[in-house]
Amino acid sequence: MKLAYWMYAGPAHIGTLRIASSFKNVHAIMHAPIGDDYFNVMRSMLERERNFTPVTTSSVDRTVLARGSQEKVVDNITRKDAEVSPDLTVLTPTCTSSILQEDLENFVERAQLTARCDVMLADVNHYRVNELQAADRTLNQIVEFYIDKARKGGTLPTGKTERPSVNIIGITSLGFHNQHDCTELKRLMADLGIEVNQVIPEKASVHHLKDLPRAWFNLVPYREVGLMTARYLEAEFGMPFVDVTPMGVVETARCIRAIQQVLNASGAAVDYEDYIDNQTRYVSQAAWFSRSIDCQNLTGKKAVVFGDNTHAIAMTKILAREMGIRVAIAGTYCKYDADWFRTQVGEFCDEVLISDDNGAVADAIARAEPAAIFGTQMERHIGKRLNIPCGVIAAPIHVQNFPIGYKPFVGYEGTNQISDLVYNSFTLGMEDHLLEIFGGHDTKEVIHKSISADSDLNWTKDALAELNKVPGFVRGKVKRNTEKFARERQLSSITIELMYAAKEAVGA
């Protein structure tokens, strides 16, 4: 057992349902007790979805437990088949019902006898994988299913589209800013003269999956969802894929260059350098922001980044490389993919943190005392307690991460949005910067509790008064460094003189 107050990634069935409900006209049957059906609430409330969520619970109750659930599950599949004529029905248990160890594969076969639609059991282990892994797996499973089906039916198309084309893989329902990212990626592809063959799974039809191989390459913007599918298509059809997340000015350029390489290797002759240069220097405002005086004031400030692999890696690179901000800790909760994280952020941060224990993350942040945090909703709340601003950059999602206004994270408009996020998180700007210089009017006390609590040193009255003149937002740091300086010299009393000696010695 694990004592848990908060979890970063959801259970596996959420991942499966996100994929199933992203497709057009795919229905999911969730074999689970009645209270496990909150996916529908999340989709309806968080995403402000106008349509009914195509997920039906085949409820597990005492009667079912006593008699087995085969009949009920099969009935529910065939009933929904009749009621809404889906193209595909995906059956999934939850953590709870998977314990029953029923032969769900057999239920599916039974249901397939009567249902006109395709029926499939989502093949994930609910205790070994989380939401993200399950989503990746389910998407791959559905794609494979329809490729196989087409192959068997002899309807697999041959050849490529006439003009360079792409499949964008991994845009899902309840994905972090995925809808806006998708719009921005489509605009980027249009700028590059690349046709979008298909976007999957969001709003895609399973009937068209067989045409995926017609694209020249696959683009996988997110590390978490889509990579399995891209690798499958590569293995099966030799389709190249680009998995550079186009987030930030540098990585967006790298992604475009990777695309250029792939296209030229396939016989095209494209040169995107002028496009990249024009976007970087004049169209996107992010490079200019990096160079501007506003951002100069962020130089050397300390940040902590935490999130899924995709967003935490991208933000770490942007902060460290594009804005000159010091990333004290870069962390991810994607423990299953920790090696990748380390290789990506290693050179851009002081410390790497791999954890899905929110308590450990909170402690690490309190210890690092950053000027800003970029993390999930959880870190936003940690920041609230510590009085450190936090920009939200990653799921778990929250209604505030479904803005109505256009806010992509990827592509060139994404670079603008991220610049705003960074700038606003540090709450600088001329006003706040000058306020800082003046010492500010803000009388909030921001010394973290633990800082005063564990002090074994005596501060003289004068020194304490002097400490109180230090602006709140660095007071904790000054106090800690001064005390460290005193301890190293075995001094038990802190005077004004000692304070300034410490400042000169260690920059306290």
Partner: protein
């Protein structure tokens, strides 16, 4: 809706497939941990349970949470790990970090399925750790949403002291033989107590059950005091250590319609006398509830009719917004019968009452009042559908075109997008709706969509889905 002929037949009950959406009963921790300030709730279940609490309740991350998941991992499920040792480890951690007066184990579907013997483990842990442990099996196999509270209160009823603790006699005074009154008067001055006592009629002790926000507790207590009825205690109190004394023969009354197991526990295990009555929701229900308590205690109610009339008069501005309109309950929190009765009294036609579970005995008086209300108002009797089927209900909604649908969160936005006014049923679970005083708040909730959508309709913003999507009405 046009007025129809009075329907004189009795209420009809149906039972559907149970394919409906509602919250898991473990939700109750979200309000019970707030109510019982010295408690800690440990939900023993899977990642699925934890993610539900995190998303649907959304309050887990604030400040100092006093509830957590004991997340079952593969080793727990496959019984490779020892449940006792695992729970002990977690409880020790909770005790160290939070030091609660009680730990409440919330069993889930998973503990049911793997047959974890929480009732067997709890006494041993309690003895070893020296902290009371209450076990409630708030699982979704057997219970719906609000019944989670029922399982907790039923378990907690057994922890109420069966006699008053010995009190130091130094402060004892004539006329205060009843230890309970002393227990309840901590912190009050002696004169006040004497003064208070004189306002009450002489009646057997009455304990109320049901978790209510503190202001509502105060309001109902004061309301009964006006009639000379003294409330000897509430289950739950604000602190676990202050649970009321319950002796055999005490009278008990529930303030929520979803507490049938607690009522049973009170009667069967604590030998109390249950006062069956409508619930104190709406001025009509509140009056009926007080009248019933009065009649049991042989008290002549004073000014109740006037009080009810005054309240109705004060909310006429809101009532006129719903009068003559129709309402459809999809079924969610077991408050449906009481709310339907109240809205019928407001002049609404209740088309259908979906309800997850219908205890016709515990809700008997409420059902009778509903029927009586419809007869009096000349509106047709609603169809009551237990374990509803949401798909079927949606078809009926499209056909009946109710003016208001009270529904769970999963359907509210899609219905709104199709031009159907909705109110979340879950709001009635959390809002302060009991008693005379809260009538306005209750109507504020009910009328909010109507007030808002009236002028949106003038803007032509009622149908916001494309025609091909509009057809896909299923769940």
């Amino acid at each position: 809706m046009t007025a129809t002929q009075p329907n004189t037949t009795a209420l009809s009950f149906e039972c559907e497939t149970g394919n409906y959406h509602t919250f898991c009963p473990i939700s109750c921790v979200a309000w019970l941990y707030q109510k019982i300030e010295d408690s800690f709730f440990l939900v023993i279940g899977t990642k699925t349970c934890g993610y539900f609490l995190q998303n649907a309740m959304g309050v887990m991350i604030f400040a100092e949470p006093r509830y957590a998941m004991a997340e079952l991992e593969e080793g727990d499920i496959s019984a490779q790990l020892n449940d006792y040792e695992e729970l002990k480890r977690l409880c020790l951690q909770v005790k160290r970090d939070r030091n609660p007066s009680v730990i409440v184990f919330i069993g889930t579907c998973t503990t049911e399925i793997i047959k974890m013997d929480l009732e067997g483990l709890a006494p041993r842990l309690e003895a070893e750790l020296g902290i009371p442990i209450v076990v409630a099996r708030a699982n979704g196999l057997d219970y719906a949403f609000t019944q989670g509270e029922d399982t907790v209160l039923a378990a907690m009823a057994n922890r109420c002291p069966s006699e008053a603790p010995a009190v130091k006699e130094t402060t004892s005074e004539p006329g205060q033989g009843n230890a309970i009154s002393r227990l309840l008067n901590f912190g009050r001055k002696q004169e006040e107590i004497v003064a208070d006592e004189s306002q009450y009629a002489d009646h057997p002790p009455l304990v109320l059950f049901g978790s209510l926000p503190d202001p509502v507790v105060t309001q109902l207590t004061l309301e009964l005091k006006k009639q000379g009825i003294k409330v000897s205690g509430w289950l739950p109190e604000k602190r676990f250590t202050e649970l009321p004394v319950i002796e055999p023969g005490y009278y008990v009354s529930g303030v929520h319609p979803f507490l049938s197991r607690t009522a049973t526990a009170m009667m069967r295990r604590r030998k109390c006398k249950l006062i069956g009555s409508p619930f104190p929701i709406g001025p009509d229900g509140t009056r009926a509830w007080i009248e019933k308590l009065c009649s049991v205690f042989n008290i002549e109610p004073k000014g109740l009719a006037e009080r009810e009339a005054e309240i109705w008069a004060s909310v006429e501005d809101y009532v006129k917004l719903v009068r003559g309109k129709s309402v459809f309950f999809m079924g969610d929190n077991l408050l449906e019968i009481s709310l339907a009765r109240f809205l019928a009294r407001c002049g609404m036609t209740v088309l259908e009452i979906g309800i997850p579970y219908m205890d016709k005995r515990y809700q008997g008086a409420e059902l009778a009042l509903l029927e009586q209300t419809c007869h009096e108002k000349g509106t047709p009797l609603p169809k009551i559908v237990e374990k509803p089927d949401n798909h079927n209900q949606l078809q009926r909604i499209l056909e009946l075109e109710p003016d208001l649908v009270i529904t769970g969160m999963a359907h509210a936005n899609p219905l709104e997008a199709r031009g159907i006014d909705t109110k979340w049923s879950v709001e009635f679970t959390f809002a302060q709706i009991q008693g005379f005083t809260n009538t306005r708040d209750l109507l504020e909730l009910v009328t909010r969509p109507l007030r808002r959508n009236t002028h949106l309709k003038e803007l032509g913003w009622d149908k916001l889905v494309k025609s091909e999507d509009a057809k896909r009405v299923t769940v």
